[in-house]
């Protein structure tokens, strides 16, 4: 079945067409037919890019004022006899939508019904920048393709298996019941895929081991996955918590916020932007938010780039240790994301000194592995270390197949909990 996967932002729509079904999934032979995006939605010079394997990229410009027009454009191009990949739009059998926040309502992917739309809208207060455009993308796609099933896949869903002792913050409990203030975690689709694929490579039944998945990209997060269930993850109520990131601070003492607001007379906006856009690798090094440039600068003797690099790796290591403790051991560590897949330096530093836990890196293999998948631990290593390139779109397409085949638990609206 050909599945359209959509990731709708406020001014862009990223899309992929993936051909997959149960058989292809099991054989790891899902096929990406096309990828692309429409950007600058709402402006007069919106751009569409379509990439089809083994063909030159196709680019076009026009005025696209809202998501509906963007989706129509995408479908028209996909079915275009010259540049497209579909004979007709009707070949699209289902649409998978990435939705950032599913709150506590969604622990798995679901067919989108009016009830589901309402629940996603209710979660918008938790992700005001992301859920509304995700929904706009759904409305637009549903209007264009009213007769096929639309499936929502949530970034937060995979982590809904965390227990209260793991997801609660140590603040008054009534703030949790009143505002649903708790750890949700993000990158769930990626952690789930990487855990599954890594286990598959090792020939493990996916639900029997203790895994730590480390997603290091623009945003970074780690997850502790105990026998197939996420039991802890480093991002929190928002994607700010946890590991050091490109421009995000990750963990810090929350008392810094009121202190800065008082002493520097910073506004809410300024302190928020400071933590989200001026911090992390960029804020520490003053050089760049890009790990490649940090590594280059540090090789050239740049001290702040060096300390930024060390902080980044140190935090990853700390979380690996914490999650091994949380699960009572670990069988494998999987690296993914732009940095996780492409930076042997980061992987080496993050795992160094963990030999006592049974993690032993094969330096030679690690150094040679950039952008592919494979094992980087030594033959004798008790704990396996792997690089597993993530593929969130593929996971969304696979979820569409799973949901349509009844493999995922069917969803019912949660009972309302009275405060």
């Amino acid at each position: 079945m050909k599945i359209l996967v959509l990731n709708s932002g406020s001014s862009s729509v990223k899309f992929q067409v993936i051909e997959t079904d149960l058989e292809r999934m099991n054989a790891h032979q899902d096929q990406t037919l096309a990828t692309g995006l429409v950007e600058k939605i709402g402006l007069s010079d919106s751009r569409l890019v379509l990439k089809v394997p083994d063909r030159k990229a196709y680019t076009d410009y026009r005025e696209i004022l809202e998501h509906r027009a963007a989706i129509d454009w995408v479908l028209r191009i996909l079915a275009d006899p010259e540049v497209g990949i579909l004979g007709e739009v009707a070949e699209v059998g289902a649409v998978g939508h990435r939705v950032v926040h599913g709150g506590e309502a969604f622990a798995s992917s679901v067919i989108i019904t009016p009830d589901v739309v309402q629940q996603i809208e209710d979660c918008s207060v938790l992700a005001p920048l992301h859920n509304p455009p995700n929904l706009r993308g759904y409305y637009a796609a549903h209007a264009a393709l009213p007769d096929v099933p639309h499936i929502a896949v949530f970034d937060t869903a995979f982590h809904q298996t965390m227990a209260p002792h793991s997801f609660l913050y140590g603040i008054p409990f009534q703030l949790y019941t009143k505002h649903a203030l708790r750890k949700y975690g993000f990158h769930g689709t990626s952690h789930r895929y990487v855990a599954f694929r890594g286990s598959q490579i090792l020939g493990w039944e996916k639900d029997e081991k203790k895994l730590i998945t480390v997603h290091l990209g623009n945003g970074c997060s780690a997850a502790a996955i105990d026998r197939g269930k996420s039991v802890d993850t480093s991002m929190g109520f928002t994607p700010l918590e946890g590991l050091l990131m490109g421009t995000r601070s990750g963990d810090m003492d929350p008392a810094i916020v009121p202190w800065l607001m008082a002493m520097e007379e910073m506004t809410l906006h300024q302190v928020n932007t400071m933590m989200n856009k001026h911090s992390g690798l960029y804020g520490i090094s003053g050089v760049s938010s890009d790990m490649r440039e940090i590594i280059e600068a540090r090789a050239g003797g740049h001290q702040r780039a060096d300390v930024a690099f060390r902080m980044f790796c140190y935090r990853v290591k700390k979380y690996i240790g914490a999650y091994a403790a949380a699960m009572g051991g670990v069988d494998a560590v999987f690296f993914t994301g732009g940095i996780g897949e492409n930076s042997p330096e980061v992987r080496e530093w993050a795992l160094s000194g963990l030999e006592y836990m049974g993690i032993e890196l094969d330096r030679h293999i690690n150094d040679g592995l950039r952008g592919g998948e494979g094992e980087i631990s030594s033959d004798g290593s008790k704990v396996k270390a792997l690089v597993v390139p993530t593929n969130e779109e593929k996971t969304i397409a696979r979820d569409v197949v799973r949901v349509l085949n009844g493999i995922m638990p069917s969803w019912e609206p949660p009972e309302t909990v009275s405060p």
């Binding site: 402006l43 007069s44 421009t247 009121p258 008082a262 932007t273 001026h278």
Partner: protein, 302 residues
Amino acid sequence: MSWELHNVAIIGGGMMGRSIATKVAQEGLNVCLKEISTEAAEASRTELEQSLDHEIARFGLTNSEKKAILSRIRWVTQFDCAADCDLAIETVQEDFGVKRRILRELDRRMVEDHPIVINTSTLSITELAAQNSCPERIVGMHFLYPVTTTRVVEVIRGQLTTDSVYERAVKFARLLGKVPIKVFEMPGFVTTRVIMPLINEAMHTVMEGVAQAAEVDLAIKLGFNFTMGPLEWADRTGLDRVLTWMQHLYSESGEPRFRPCPMLKRLVRAGLYGAKTGQGFFSYDANRRRTDRLPDDKPRLA
């Protein structure tokens, strides 16, 4: 007819014009900012860049956001740019004749039902609009200092302003991230009318020797949880402007509560306009930071 906001014309590249341009561009819209000469346009651009740099230093903005903002603002010296704009707003000085002339230029070039916004705190929208071929599309907005952080804007309905134009102005206010307060035309609207007597009373309190200016300001600031006292607010707004407003309110209403305090007149006559001249009720450095705060006038954690 459908109307969408994509291109905005701003007449006047002073503090108000730059601040509105920044916000509009930040929201992804295109701006043409009209100044009177190439030199003025250049100066306006430099100052806008400086204010963006200042915000970057305060962590409120990133370099790439600055680049995106600048890419959407076009400085021009002719009114022709307004022809394909969905809304125009003038931000020139509070002078009836100047504003009326600008309205005519815009009125002549813009599509009939595209709103023209007058930015004023005391002038009559109705009287300014009356000179135009379509007075129905003229609407007022009153921004408060500092424009970048103050969340409120008064949206003023003139006698002839149509509902649809008024709603477009409200939409524009929302786009700027402001809470619109809907007001009918009346000198001082809500904010100026209510705050002026407070400022005037603070000045009288100083003049009568009840307390020093710094003590009066601190009492009101801490006592009522204001971000700054009324005298510092007047200093930062410009004592010359405050005096103009008060005189206008006084002459329009005849109410003695708006009669400007003699002390205010004295400072203005001496050219001590406040933060912009370095001296008003208080002293300021070149970056408009106060240099004479009382020891108790400082941030505190608890």
